[in-house]
Amino acid sequence: MKIAVCVKHVPDSRVRIDAGSKRLDRSGAGELNKFDTNAVEEALRVKERLGEGDVVVVSMGPEGAADTVRAALALGADRGVLVSDPGAIGSDLLATSRVLAKVLEREQPDLILFGQQASDGAGAVLWAAVAERLGVPSVSQATELVVEGGRARVTRQTERGDDVVEAPLPLAVAVSDAINDPRYASLKGVMAAKRKPLETLSLADLGVDAAQAGEAGSKTVVLGIAPPPARSGARRVEEGDAAQAIVDFLAERQLV
C-alpha cells in the first residue's frame, strides 16, 4: 500500500502580501500547514492498521519547503518528494494541480491524502482538481477512513449530516481536522527524518513545460489589494457594565 500525502509549506503566523508582486510573501520562515498534519497522521494510522505501507510526502514550494517535508517525515512518513522550481512560483489551482498530478502519476499511490484547507487562507479545493486530472474519485471532509481489500469506506461530514462513501483504490481523500488528533514529532523522529530520502525535483524533471506552471500556466490573476473591508465602528468592552453596553449597541443598530 502506497500512500501519498500532499502537504503545503505555509508562511508562519504573520503572513503579509508583497506590495510589488501582490502575492503572499513567502520569503520568511514557513511551516507545515497544520491541517495537513491530520492527513499525515491518517496516513500513518492506515499504514499501522494494515501493518504495511509506504508513506510518501509530496509538496511543491520554495527551497525552504524542504523543512516542511522533513517535519512530516519526523512524524513518521517514509520519504519525501518536493517540487521546487522558480518557474512554479505564482501557480494557481490549475497549475498547482497539474504539477502535483505529475508527481502522483510517477508515484502511482493507492491512496492520496490532503488536509482540509491551507492555514494561509489560500483555499480548500486542490484535491478535487488533482483527482480529476488523475481520473480517480475524491472524497472531502472525511471524519473516518477505513481501507480494506483494495477499497476505502469514507465517512464525510456535510452541512446536512454524515454521508458514507465507498470507492475502490486509487482514491483521493481530503481529511477533516476532526478525523484524528495528530501525534507530535519525537526527538527520535526528528533525528530519523534527517536521514530519510527527500527527492527534490524541478519542473523539467517532471516533464512539465514552463508554460504549464507558475504564472504562465495559471488562469487566475491577482489584480490589486484594497484596504480592509470596513467593519465600521468595531468596539471592545473590557470593563464596566458589559450587558448595558450590549443593549446600547443593539439599540444603536436598531436590532432591538
Binding site: 480529476e132 453596553a245 449597541f249
Partner: protein
C-alpha cells in the same frame, strides 16, 4: 457575457445562497441561467425561474441524487460546452467546492474562490476576495474563459422576480471515474425547530459555556431577542447540543442580521459558517479569542455574569 449558476437543493427546496448568486449574476449580466441536478430537477426548475433564471438546465436522473461531486462535473461540462457559457458560478458548500475544482481541471478553467462580490470593470470581470483573516480585500481576475467562481454563502440575497424559466433537459455522459465512488449510507440529521438559515437573529454557544446545561443561557437570550440557537462543532461533538444546530464549515452557513457568540473562540471552522452575519456580538473571557477579530462588539467577560443581566435588561426594555 453569459453566466450559468449551479443550484443545490434538498428536501424539495432550492438552497437560498446559490439563488443569491443567481440574482447577482442576472443583475450583472442582464440575464443568467441555472443548472439543477437530480430526480427533482424538473420540479424545481419553475422555482429557479421564479428566482430569476432565464434558462434552467435540468439533469433529471435519480442516478444523480447522491450528493457526489464527480457526476456533477460531467453534467456541468456538458452544459458549459453546449451552452457556450463563459462564466460558471457556485455558492460554496462541501459539495460545490469539489464540483467547482473538478470542473476547473476538466475545462482547464481558472477558479477563484471565497469571493464576496463580483463586478464588471472595463469589460472585465473582477472578483472580490477577503484575505489574511479578512484584513484585506483582494481583487482577482481570470485569464481566458470559462471563468469559474465560488462565493461565500450569504454574499447576496436571493430575489424573487416571478419569472418563468425555459427548461432544457441535459443528457450528460458520465466519465468512467465519476461513477466509482458510491454513496452507501446517508445519516442526515432531521432539522429540529426553526430554520437557522432563515433566522434574523442567532445566539450561538461554544465550549466556553462550560457545561451543556448552560446552553439555557443561549436559549433564554435567543428567546428574548426573537432568535434561534446555534452551536459550534466542538459543542455538538461534545454532545452539548443537537447537530442540526451546528454552524460552520461542516454545519449550517448563516447570515443573520445579528449573531451573538457566547463562549465561542472563533476557529476558522466556525467563522466560515457565520462570517456573512450583518452584525456580530461576541462574549468571551479570553481577551485574545479570534472571534473578536470579526466582531462588531467584542465583550471580554464571563457569559455567566453578563448574559443573565443582559436578558434582564432586554426584558425590562421590552416591558417599558
Amino acid at each position: 457575457m453569459s453566466a450559468v449558476v449551479f443550484l443545490e437543493h434538498d428536501g424539495g427546496e432550492l438552497h437560498k445562497a446559490p439563488l443569491g448568486v443567481l440574482a447577482r449574476a442576472a443583475d450583472l449580466f442582464g440575464s443568467a441561467d441555472a443548472v439543477v441536478v437530480g430526480s427533482q430537477a424538473t420540479a424545481l426548475a419553475a422555482e429557479a425561474g421564479r428566482f430569476g433564471a432565464a434558462v434552467v438546465h435540468v439533469a433529471d436522473d435519480p442516478a444523480l441524487d447522491p450528493a457526489l461531486p464527480a457526476p456533477r462535473v460531467d453534467v456541468l461540462e456538458t452544459v458549459v460546452r453546449q451552452g457556450g457559457y463563459d462564466t460558471v458560478l457556485f455558492s460554496n458548500s462541501v459539495l460545490a467546492a469539489d464540483v467547482a475544482a473538478g470542473l476547473a481541471a476538466r475545462l482547464e478553467a481558472g477558479l477563484n474562490w471565497d469571493l464576496v462580490d463580483l463586478e464588471q470593470r472595463d469589460g472585465e470581470l473582477v472578483g472580490k476576495r477577503p484575505a489574511l483573516g479578512d484584513s484585506v480585500l483582494v481583487d482577482v481576475g481570470w485569464r481566458g474563459t470559462p471563468r469559474l467562481a465560488l462565493f461565500r454563502p450569504g454574499s447576496f440575497d436571493a430575489v424573487e422576480t416571478g419569472g418563468v424559466a425555459e427548461v432544457r433537459p441535459v443528457a450528460a455522459a458520465l466519465a468512467p471515474h465519476s461513477t466509482r465512488a458510491i454513496l452507501v449510507d446517508h445519516r442526515h440529521q432531521p432539522d429540529e425547530g426553526p430554520k437557522l438559515e432563515d433566522a434574523e437573529v442567532i445566539v450561538s454557544g461554544g465550549m466556553g459555556l462550560g457545561a451543556p446545561e448552560h446552553f439555557a443561557l443561549a436559549e433564554e437570550l435567543a428567546s428574548v431577542l426573537g432568535g434561534v440557537v446555534g452551536a459550534t462543532r466542538a459543542a455538538v461533538y461534545a454532545g452539548w447540543y443537537p447537530a442540526s444546530a451546528q454552524i460552520g464549515q461542516t454545519g449550517k452557513t448563516v447570515s443573520p442580521r445579528l449573531y451573538v457568540a457566547l463562549g465561542i473562540s472563533g476557529a476558522v471552522q466556525h467563522k466560515v459558517g457565520m462570517q456573512g452575519s450583518k452584525a456580530v456580538v461576541a462574549v468571551n473571557k479570553d481577551p485574545n479569542a479570534p472571534i473578536f477579530e470579526f466582531s462588531d462588539l467584542a465583550v471580554v467577560g464571563d457569559v455567566h455574569v453578563i448574559v443573565p443581566r443582559l436578558v434582564e435588561l432586554l426584558r425590562a426594555r421590552k416591558g417599558s
